[in-house]
Structures are given as C-alpha cells and as structure tokens.
Assembly symmetry: C2
Homo-oligomer: 436 residues x 2
Amino acid sequence: MDISIVDVEVKDIRFPTSLKADGSDAMHTDPDYSCAYVILKTNTDIRGYGLTFTLGRGTEIVVQACKSLSTLVKNQKVLNIFNDFASFWRKLTSESQLRWIGPEKGVIHLATAAIINALWDMWARIEKKPVWKLLVDLTPEQLVSTIDFRYITDFITKEEAIRMLRNNEVDKKKREKFLIENGYPAYTTQIGWLGYSDEKVKELCKKFLDLGFTSFKAKVGQNIKDDIQRCRLIRETIGYENKLMLDANQVWDVEEAIEWMKQLKEFKPVWIEEPTSPDDILGHAKIADELKSIGIAVATGEMCANRVMFKQLLQSKAIQFCQIDSARIGGINEILAVYFMAKKIGIPVCPHAGGIGLCEMVQHLQMWDFISLSGTTTDRVIEYVDQQHEHFENPVQLRNACYMPPIAPGYSTKLKNDCISNYIYPDGTEWRRTFN
Amino acid sequence: MDISIVDVEVKDIRFPTSLKADGSDAMHTDPDYSCAYVILKTNTDIRGYGLTFTLGRGTEIVVQACKSLSTLVKNQKVLNIFNDFASFWRKLTSESQLRWIGPEKGVIHLATAAIINALWDMWARIEKKPVWKLLVDLTPEQLVSTIDFRYITDFITKEEAIRMLRNNEVDKKKREKFLIENGYPAYTTQIGWLGYSDEKVKELCKKFLDLGFTSFKAKVGQNIKDDIQRCRLIRETIGYENKLMLDANQVWDVEEAIEWMKQLKEFKPVWIEEPTSPDDILGHAKIADELKSIGIAVATGEMCANRVMFKQLLQSKAIQFCQIDSARIGGINEILAVYFMAKKIGIPVCPHAGGIGLCEMVQHLQMWDFISLSGTTTDRVIEYVDQQHEHFENPVQLRNACYMPPIAPGYSTKLKNDCISNYIYPDGTEWRRTFN
C-alpha cells in the first residue's frame, strides 16, 4: 500500500481550566490547559493524530511552528519515513534554516513532538495496534533504528541499546500478560494544586485513597509555612505508609532549594521535583548531593529540553527519578533514547503526565518499557490526573489505581470532533460563550 | 516626560544570502540571513528598534512570538520599565502561560531578545547616547539593577557584581578615551565559509590581511581532508604569526570532536568553536580537558540558550572563550549577567557576530565591558563579517581592523526604510523579483 501524506491540519485547542485553579503551581498560577493539535491526512482513509501540550497563551506560536514544519512532512511516503525513521527525525530537527530557532528546544521542538507523535499514531493505526504493542512487537533492530544517536554516543551506542532489548526478550510474553491483567501503577497529583483550599486537599486525599492510590504528589514552593501546613495535612490523611512526592515547579535557586527541603524533611517526601531551573544540570546535581543524607531524591524532566540535557542529568547523577514527558522532547524517537540511557545507569523512569493527552501518551511508553526494556515496575509509577480525558476518543482507563493497557490502534491522541468544535481557540462554542 | 508604548510593529525581514553561500557552515548549508524586527512606538516621537537574527525559514514563527509577547509591553510607561528593569524582564520571561513554551529558550527567548533590545535602543535614544555610553554612565547599582539573578545566585550575587564595577571605576575615563581613539579589535570569519572555493578563501585572506586583521576564523567539520587542505592554505597565506580560529558549528559528537581536532593540531588553532551540541556542557568540558594538552581551547555561546547554561559552561571549565550573542539570550539584561559571571571566573568574552545586526549590537556590549568591567582587550576580539551593514542607518565602522565606538544614540539597530520595503518577506520588492 502506497500511503502518502497529502495534507497537514493544525489546530489551536484550549480549555479554560484557569477558572478553577486546576493545574496551578508555584510558577504557573493560572494555566489554561491547551494543545497544538496536528492531523496528518493521507491519500487513504488513514490519518495520524498528534499533539503537544501547552498552557494557553503561546499555543498560537506552536501552531505556527507546526505549520512551518509541516512542509517537511507533506508529500512524504509514510513507509519511507518508518523504514528510516531516525533519518527523517534528523531531517525534521536539523533543517538547515529552522534549526537556528532551536536547536531541538522550545517552540520548534514542541512542534516537532506534535508531528512525530502524529506519525507514530498513524504507524500504529496502519499496523492496527496500540503504540505500546507496536513498540513491543518491533525487533530490537527495528526499534533502535528509529533513534537518532547524534550527541549521545559518548554515553550510549546503538549496539548497546539493541543488546539491552535482546537480553530482555525471554520473558516478554509473560510481562505482557501480567500487564494486560494488572495494569501499570499510577500516582495522583490531584490532591494539592497550589490554588486549592485545605478542605479540598483533604477531601481529595480521601477520594484517591478510596480509589486505591498509594502514591500522592503535592505542589510546594510559594511559602514555607503553607507548605509545612499542607504537608502535615496530607500526611495526617494518607499516613506514612503511603508515598508522598513534592513538586516545586522550578521556583527556587540552588541554595534555596536545599534549605527549603531541609525544612520539609519530617514529611519524608520520596522526591522533590523540579527544585530549580530545568536547565541547571550542575545545580540539580548539587541539590541531589545535599539532600541525599536526609533521604530525599531529586526528580525532573517535564521541561528538560532534549536527549542531550537528559544525558547530562543522568551522567552527573543529578536525578534519581527520570521524568520523561511525551510532548516536549521530539516525540517517541527521542524519548526512547532517554529510556535507554536511564536503563544504562539504573535510574527509574516515572513519566510526567496530566495536562492534555500526556497521560494518554506516556502510558504506552511506560508499558513498552516494562515489557521490553526495564522488565520491572519497582520504583516506577506513572503520573495521573483525571482531567480532560473525556475529550479523547480513547481515554485512559484506570483500575485499582493502575493504568490499563490501551486496546484501540494508535497513540490514544485522537480528540473527539465535538471537543474540537467546542474548544478550538478563539472561535469554539465554549470560548465564544466565555467571551460573551 | 511621560512616555508610554502605544504600539508594537513586528516585521519579517529576509535577505537571499543563500544564493552566494555566504554564511554557510557544516550545519547551516544555505542560510538566508534574516531577522524578526520590532518597532516600539510611543505617544511621542521616540521609538525603539530591536531585532533577533534568524536564518530565513522560521522567521515567521519568531514574528508570531514577538506579537504574542507584545501585549506585555503595550501600554507600559517606559520609565516604570527602566526604573525596575529586572522585574520587567522577569515578567516577560516568566509569564505564567507563555513560559511553558520555553522556558527562556528557543523561539520565545529570541522574541524576548528582540523586544528587550528594542527597549534598550529606546532608552539610549531617550538619553541621547549610544548604548555603550548609556551602560558606562549608569551607576554600578543602576546597571546591576537591570539583571534578574534568578537561578544564578549560587555562582554570583548582585553585591559581587556591584563590587566588580566599583573596583574598576578609577580608570574608566582613560579607557573610554583610549577606545574612542583606537577602537576595539575585530577578527574576521569571512575567509572560510564552507561553501567557498580555495581561490576565494586565499583571496579573502589576503584582502583581510591588507585591511590589518590579525585574527581569522574558518569553518571546519564536513570532511577532514578538506579541512586539512583548507587550514594549510590559510596558514600558508596568513602565516603562523597571525591567529587562526576554527568553527565546527556543532557537527560532531564528543569523541569525534576530540579525534578530529587532534588531526588539525599542526595548524595551531587558538580555539575550536561549537565542537558539539550547544546543550552539552559536560561534553564541552570533556573536549576542553582532552584538547588542553595540545594547546587548543574550546569556545561556544552563540547558541547557548540562557544565563543558566552559560553559568554551567563557566562553572565546569567547559569553555576558555565565552561567546555571547546579542540576540539569542534575553537581550542586554541577561547578557550583562553572563559578562559578570565570565569576569568572576576569569574567562574572556569574545562575542559572536555576523548575521543581521549582531555586529551592530555586540560592539556596544564589548566596549562597555572594556571600559567598566574587564578593563582589558587582552585575549578578546569581536567577530566581524562585512555583510548586510548597508541596511542599517548607523552601520558599524571599522578602522585598522578595529570597531570604532558608535556615536549615534541607540543600539545601532534601526534598519533603513528602503531595506524594509525591499526585503520584507514575502512581499518586499527584492523577494517579488526573486520569485518571478
């Protein structure tokens, strides 16, 4: 079958989440969860749906970037792309004029993610498999052939990555069966957005305990007194037998992060997430080193710009938990590189999720990791937020606080038509209602 | 005087430089030198002109980003901005929804640079001084008050920066006089763009020797045999009494950079510039460490995303020459932070220039550094390329291979009206002629 991409549609979809302070943290006080949404159309019925998550304002810039990149996808035969995906990925990320405005970071890389995600969605639809199963069924050579190893060969090579997959092939079937029966453990971030009242925090802790959750994450960093009070409240409700993680969303300088976290030591957080600038590898390394003695680990990754930055976070032991994001770095191809690097150095991947479509996507990657690469869920959980799933045709399914493996072909990224007409910005029905 | 910004115009200006391979290197084979150009209009006759450099395609994305950011500038009183410039800078770079698409990197940070540069141009016009003189005449406290120290306080504090300026105040007048008489040393990159023939390279070496240049830079990295031949040709023409620098424009992986440069050792380059990914701090540190014994230094910075990345390049001794760019990181405010950090660790700043308007801008910064901060030109040179200066109302002036201090008020960033109508993309006269 000779499938070619004949058109690329890009849409600006925004949800007015700021009205309820959902998603609010120390840096992002009023997010309107949004996405730049890409539809790849072919000369057949097959399409590919991809997105990158945004916070409202600025989505128009990412939309423009997707449109600019789309000339590189248009008129391509999809089999040519999938047969040499690493080369195509490099073509997209190293286009000789466009790379200046990155390279491989910020708006242009978010747009790359949306397009690459749409291509994986399409590939899985062609194969009639969910993405996790597509990944699991590729041979080690095929899977690794999708990765561009430029700039990371001093840490990991193609051959090493292939070997890692080969070493784990024996029990793949067993793990796939286990996953289909039990799902993959999730944790909730929904107990403590900064904009929430104490009552709401307590109520949400109880709700998620009842749903079977054993790992909880709260936002900190605006005010130490409030943080102490909030952590106490949460610990009183969830006890010390459950896990608590804290997230500062980059609000501190390096020394400040160390001092602040020492004051929250008694609440025994598993990790402090994003203690400082996402670009500060050496800063994270220093924080991790200082907090080690009081048993607090460092986690980051949701705003890590690309595989080169992840490489260094891992090389310098700056993180003890690696938080890949499904829509910031350049789509699955680049994320796979990060999984291999994390595996090499023995750091567990605990994906960032929430937002729009992030839960839908990362579940596929983490399930592949369990079956094909790490072979374990020890010290690993997928972030979960139960918002905006209703807009997707194949929303995530949780059972006993575990993500259940998606069944529908694709990357779970197709929005319902209703959602698009309601939330397209600024002309969607819901937005016109809000503006009036 | 109560000056307010009432309107922001943003223009996409492109020059068809790729037709002659001007500016071609191992990564950017066909650049069309371009810029996103910002005009800040006030309720008076005073305007501010700022730009960020781009390579052609993608300028439309940066233009969109400038437009999105412009809502934060519109209706502001300019005195409020200049009286607390660091706070305004943070407001621009940390806008709670827009920061997601950076933060402080890529398209959104290029747009920040264009707007911030326009504000400095306006400030200098109000003061009726060129920017270098405005900077020199600010008190240490005033100057340092423009810098946002977020994320760098573990390396340098506000107080330290003020002290550095105070310690240098004694001979400022003397150095200013020296500069006005002698100018600031330049080096040329124009002898060896990758797309140039041997004859052209030789001819250009002679031309720039005749003009009094003593430092020359050539592009390398596509083919080792070609590089050896080209370096030999250049050394035969300029001799070993002049300085040669090499620039790989990020084409290598870490190990490859080390091996490649060992093969170019005999040509005694002062530095190898951008040997690998601009994000690879630890990689640069490794390369620097390995090349130290053969006397080759490492330089980078033109694609360094922000002050946090520069901080780490300096902390880890990854660079021996710090190449600030005037339009990639967030304008003068952030660049000043880099100068202070470089000074603290004793690393000379040799600014990146060329492109559109980069020479025009960096000369101001480097002249301020000489007069107020470092107090020396030892081991320091400003890059120079003699292209596209004719489009500016106040183009750079060179005498005996030295940049002469600008006299006209502003940041030397105002384009001629003719230039705009000829090169605005895609409707400018020159573009319509090219398309026909």
